[in-house]
Amino acid sequence: MSHSPPSSSAAPASGFASFVADLASDQRAFKGLSWPKTMMWVFLLGDIFVFSCFLIAYMNLRTAVQAPWPHPSEVFALNIGGKEIPLLLVAVMTLVLTSSCGTMSLAVAYGYGKNREKALQMLWISAALGLMFMAMQAFEWTKLIGEGVRPWVNGIGASQFGAFFFMITGFHGTHVTIGVILILVTASKVARGELDNGTRSSLTGRKQSYELVEILSLYWHFVDVVWVFLFAVFYLW
């Protein structure tokens, strides 16, 4: 990327003054920022609102409801060798998704370092960990459905539990699924060397660069941020 530096040489480079200067700049705000990356930030802000709606509704209902809420450490326990281990699957899911974020950061760093082989390797690992996460979530859903948990009734406590569980984790799981697809698409672009020689994208017709991997990483990290909050307020609460 080669942006022209801000036209006004007096514009402060950092701190609150730069925020004011950016908002008060002539013609347009966000001057000199890479717009694909900025658009991803704006999209993520919209996603924050969607997930906040779910979590606010969940917290409001959970504090208001009189029936006992199903105890998460019992509902999400796994029986290993005759012993109930609470939240084991969810803990492993957290480790897997966090590791996927770590490898995605490395992919960005290797990409900007023009190390195509390593970047590609890290993208494949991130996608594989994302697939693992999806598989574990599918297992968890199957287990709960087998135990009779439905969005309208569950037999283990407040009947709204199933509705919130399937809605919130399902929406997050959809994000993971889309993320894995995007990682695979980006990895195939990296494998073909399109980001190294600036081939024009077949979709947008714009020259591609390793910034694509960074924009993808923004989305993928956001999916982990959402999971961090789900883990805390839904599973551990």
């Binding site: 920022l33 409001n60 950061s105 490395l106």
Partner: protein
């Protein structure tokens, strides 16, 4: 600031943050595992979740190396949402207390007609 790719951090910081995320997630798991009492548990879990989210957004998503306006874009609206969450939490607790005093403690209005000695709604 015109070329943000020149500001790529050293790769070691990703491993440090990665490890720290494991530690924070493990701590939250232990808080639930050992059954810490509720007001403290909620505070600790939220603090740990905010710590993890902050680390991911600031370092892994490179927000600290972005222009300040992007940081404001991502920080101010979630703060408003957090205050909305607090309001709805208070509202939920109020609903719960109302149900507690009006629907559970008192007999159902159809079961026993309200009299001065046996009010359907206490107080």
């Amino acid at each position: 600031m015109s070329n943000e790719h020149a500001q790529q951090p050293d790769i070691g910081i990703y491993f440090k943050v990665w490890g720290l995320l494991f530690v924070l997630a493990g701590t939250s798991y232990c808080i639930a595992y050992f059954g810490v009492g509720q007001p403290l548990k909620a505070i600790l879990l939220l603090a740990l979740a905010l710590g993890q989210a902050g680390l991911i957004v600031a370092v892994l998503m490179h927000l600290v190396w972005e222009r300040v306006i992007v940081a404001y874009l991502m920080f101010v609206p979630p703060m408003l949402l957090a205050s909305f969450l607090a309001i709805c939490f208070t509202d939920g607790s109020y609903t719960n207390r109302t149900r507690e005093s009006n629907y559970l403690a008192a007999p159902l209005p159809s079961a026993a007609p309200a009299t001065a000695a046996n009010p359907a709604v206490p107080h």
